[in-house]
């Protein structure tokens, strides 16, 4: 986009005059005498603003406006129509086609430049952003469905499950529009809208209510409460979307309108009179004061224009054919959008009754028509000043309330965030301290706790070796008990250290062969007890993904248990390591034909220090399976067991998806 103002007008005088005015204001211009030149200039880049005449030698300016609006590059470029056309219909046509401004000829170049500057400011601040929608419904399903639909359409969505929560979220988030269910437990949709309208910071927020029933009563209730639109819940969601879009568009337009009429912008006056001569004379005089005058020849024309363009004051002839001044005034003052526009009734020779009727219809002032416009100009200034004063006051009030609400919301957010941050930091510090403590604890356990055990075991052994002959069996038995105790304690410490290390150790997952590791572990067990009649069977596909060192620990425990609990078998020991596919997952298992266990105790198997057998029956620390479970969980897998007393046990485990292993900590 260029910074240039494109001026399309067939009159060289006008082009030069406007160029001088814009140059003086520091703006560059590009001059086009007809549409062909304008179209060619467009090929060199979109201008910042276009000033466009309607009647051009090679076509209609309004048609060119349509072309601009259909072009992606200029869809939002401000366009100021500049036309000598007396017909108000052309003015309405241009504005409806998307003109941002319409100035009649003869024009005041200072006014045109001022309007152009205002439009440029507006287009800079009016950058579009995704509107935020608050959805309030007690049904999570409906809420999620709607939120998804809205999200897909590019809206930002917040949700609330009740009217109370909705009010809080509305105050915090200040959404661009709200969709609220009419029927909810707690406060109803209608109550919600009423409360919303009471909050000055939130009252302009467009609100769409969802009604459940067919009946007109609930729709009336919705509108009565102040909702801007309603949709029945059984209607398609597309209707909700369409209504929402329309609501947002209206809100945007009304914002634009109020923004367009800035306090210090040049004023636009609508003069309504059936006498064209009087209108011309009036316009001539008002232009001297820097006003832009829009001329309407009837009440109907005036109303039509007011529906598309905002003015700062209306001068209305009391006596007109067609719609009378009184009736026109009533209509204007009866419209909520126009009520605040000052209206001055122009009277000729009518009796006081007509004047009173005009005032009763809502006119702000009346002025007797005369060739001397001084009184009218003074009255007009007074009305504009009053209007400006009111607008200023209202704007200041609104600004204060808006700022206040924003500050409140920002502060609440910041407080909550700060508190959360403090909590998270505290927790992190605590965790770090605990972790450090745990590490130094494990370190000192491994260093210091084993030494006394070595003394007990070592000196008992020396005593047995050296003085075994000098003491009786009982004394020797006690010394053996001391040694057994020390060694058991040593095994417990080793087990605990392994368990704590497994929790903290880095996990590196790579392809492994569970069968190969099992064979290695089994061979070690066999070497320790070569006399036993035993065999290891490897069945199925035993390839997997995991940390080889940790999986070896798992298999040492599972095969070690299988070996241990088959130790009293009369039949030959058979240990099987195999795999099955289950729910798209490879499940490995270690099966033995040992003593098994009661399934009642299956849930106790994996807790640390849980033992299903006495030390007398089978030695053990009760930490092995806890370690195994922790390793499997860190891989993102599961472990469980199946057994029957006297018929062996089977331990199943999976190793999780490779992706889950990285995330699992």
């Amino acid at each position: 986009m260029t910074d240039e103002i494109m001026i399309v007008d067939d009159s060289l005088t006008i082009r030069m005059d406007l160029q001088d005015a814009f140059t003086a204001a520091g703006l560059a211009t590009r001059l086009c005498g007809n549409l062909a030149q304008a179209r060619e200039a467009m090929a060199h880049g979109a201008p910042a603003l276009v000033i466009l005449d309607v009647l051009l030698p090679d076509g209609d300016g309004v048609d060119f406006l349509g072309e601009l609006r259909n072009d992606e590059r200029t869809a939002r470029t401000p366009v100021l129509m500049l036309s000598a056309e007396a017909e108000i219909k052309d003015r309405i046509r241009g504005i409806k086609r998307g003109a941002d401004e319409y100035v009649g000829k003869p024009y005041d170049s200072g006014y045109v430049v001022a309007r152009a500057m205002a439009l440029l400011r507006k287009s800079e601040t009016g950058k579009p952003r995704a509107p935020s929608i608050l959805v309030i419904d007690d049904s999570l399903t409906y809420r999620e469905e709607l939120a998804k639909l809205l999200g897909d359409a590019g809206f930002r969505v917040t949700q609330a499950g009740s009217g109370e929560e909705g009010l809080r979220r509305a105050a915090d988030g200040r959404p661009d529009a709200i969709i609220v269910d009419g029927i909810m437990p707690g406060i109803t949709g209608a109550t919600f809208v009423r409360r919303l309208r009471l909050d000055p910071g939130l009252s302009p927020t467009p609100c769409l209510m969802l009604t459940a029933s067919e009946g007109a009563a609930s729709e009336v209730a919705a509108l009565d409460a102040g909702a801007d639109a309603y949709v029945r819940k059984d209607e398609s969601n597309m209707i909700v979307m369409a209504r929402l879009r329309a609501m947002l568009r209206q809100a945007e337009e009304s914002r634009e309108r109020s923004r367009a009429a800035g306090l210090f912008d040049p004023k636009r006056i609508l003069a309504v009179d059936d006498s064209l001569t009087y209108l011309e004379a009036l316009a001539e005089h008002l232009r001297l004061d820097g006003y832009e005058v829009v001329k309407a020849k009837s009440g109907e024309e005036a109303l039509e224009l007011l529906s598309v363009e905002r003015v700062d004051c209306v001068l209305l002839d009391l006596q007109m054919p067609g719609l009378s001044g009184t009736e026109t005034c009533k209509r204007i003052k009866g419209s909520s959008a126009l009520r605040n526009v000052p209206l001055i009734m122009l009277t000729a020779l009518e009796g006081p009754e007509a004047m009173v009727a005009g005032i009763n219809a809502g006119a702000d002032d009346y002025v007797a028509k005369s060739a001397d416009f001084e009184v009218l100009r003074a009255r007009l200034r007074a009305q504009l000043r009053r209007k400006q004063y009111e607008d200023e006051n209202r704007n200041v009030r609104e600004e204060i309330m808006r700022k206040d609400a924003e500050t409140r919301a920002v502060r609440r957010n910041a407080d909550a965030r700060a508190e959360l941050l403090v909590q998270v930091e505290k927790k992190n510090a605590e965790l770090q301290m605990l972790n450090k403590e745990m590490q130094s604890f494990a370190y000192s356990v491994s260093h210091d706790l084993r030494q006394p055990l070595r003394s007990m075991d070592g000196f008992s052994k020396v005593l047995l070796d050296k003085y075994g002959g000098a003491i009786d069996d009982e004394a020797r038995h006690y010394l053996q008990r001391i040694r057994a105790g020390a060694q058991r304690m040593g095994a417990l410490i080793d087990g605990l250290l392994l368990l704590s290390r497994v929790t903290r150790a880095d996990l590196t997952a790579r392809p492994i062969d569970v069968g190969q590791i099992s064979r290695r572990v089994y061979d070690r067990l066999r070497d320790a007890e070569p006399g036993r009649n035993a065999e290891l069977a490897l069945t199925g596909d035993l390839k997997g993904t995991g940390d080889d060192r940790l999986i070896e620990t798992v298999l040492e425990n599972l095969l070690g248990n299988a070996w241990k609990f088959t130790g009293r078998n009369t039949a030959p020991t058979r240990i099987e390591v195999g795999s099955v596919e289950q729910d798209n997952e490879r499940v490995f298992f270690v099966r033995d034909n040992g003593v098994g266990f009661k399934m009642d105790y299956a849930d106790k198997l994996f807790g640390p220090f849980q033992r299903l057998h006495s030390e007398e029956e089978f030695a053990g620390t009760g930490i092995g399976l806890a370690t195994v479970q922790r390793i499997i969980h860190r891989h993102g897998g599961r472990i469980w067991a199946q057994a029957e007393v006297g018929r062996g046990a089977t331990f199943y485990f999976s190793l999780g998806a490779p992706a889950a292993q990285k995330a699992a900590v």
Partner: protein
């Protein structure tokens, strides 16, 4: 007689157990004991004593200078650079093992609780490293 093993060990029990194990294994070595890292470093400075020294049995967790510090100084000293050092300690923490080898330990042995294993290990250490570093 010249001492030929330097035992760096703060626990009197472990010291006695090592001596018992060596005696049981029939290794008639003279053992000098340092109770902390400073004592050990002081002995390293005695060139005459170091000339006869055949190995160091080094615990890692000793007061003042720890075992790693002592190991660094042994490797930094010309008189002891080639002296075999066996780390003989309670720790089986991976990082300790890696660090010891990095700093130039010849062997890392974890002290077993069971005295039968303990004396086996000491016997093997004594035989192997003493034999390897026999002074002619």
């Amino acid at each position: 007689m010249n001492t030929n093993i330097l035992l760096v060990e703060d626990s009197r029990d472990d010291e006695e157990l090592v001596l018992l194990a060596l005696r049981q294994a029939g290794i008639s070595a003279d053992v000098a004991v340092a109770r902390d890292g400073e004592q050990a470093v002081a002995r390293l400075g005695n060139a005459a004593e170091m000339a006869a020294m055949r190995m160091v049995l080094l615990d890692l967790k000793v007061p003042k200078l720890n075992g790693f510090e002592v190991l660094k100084r042994i490797r930094a000293n010309d008189a002891t650079r080639r002296l075999p050092v066996v780390v003989f300690t309670s720790s089986d923490v991976r990082s300790d093992i890696e660090r010891a080898y990095e700093l130039g330990a010849n062997c890392y042995v974890c002290k077993p609780v069971d005295f039968v294993e303990y004396s086996d290990v000491v016997q093997q250490i004594g035989r192997f490293w003493l034999a390897l570093n026999r002074k002619v």
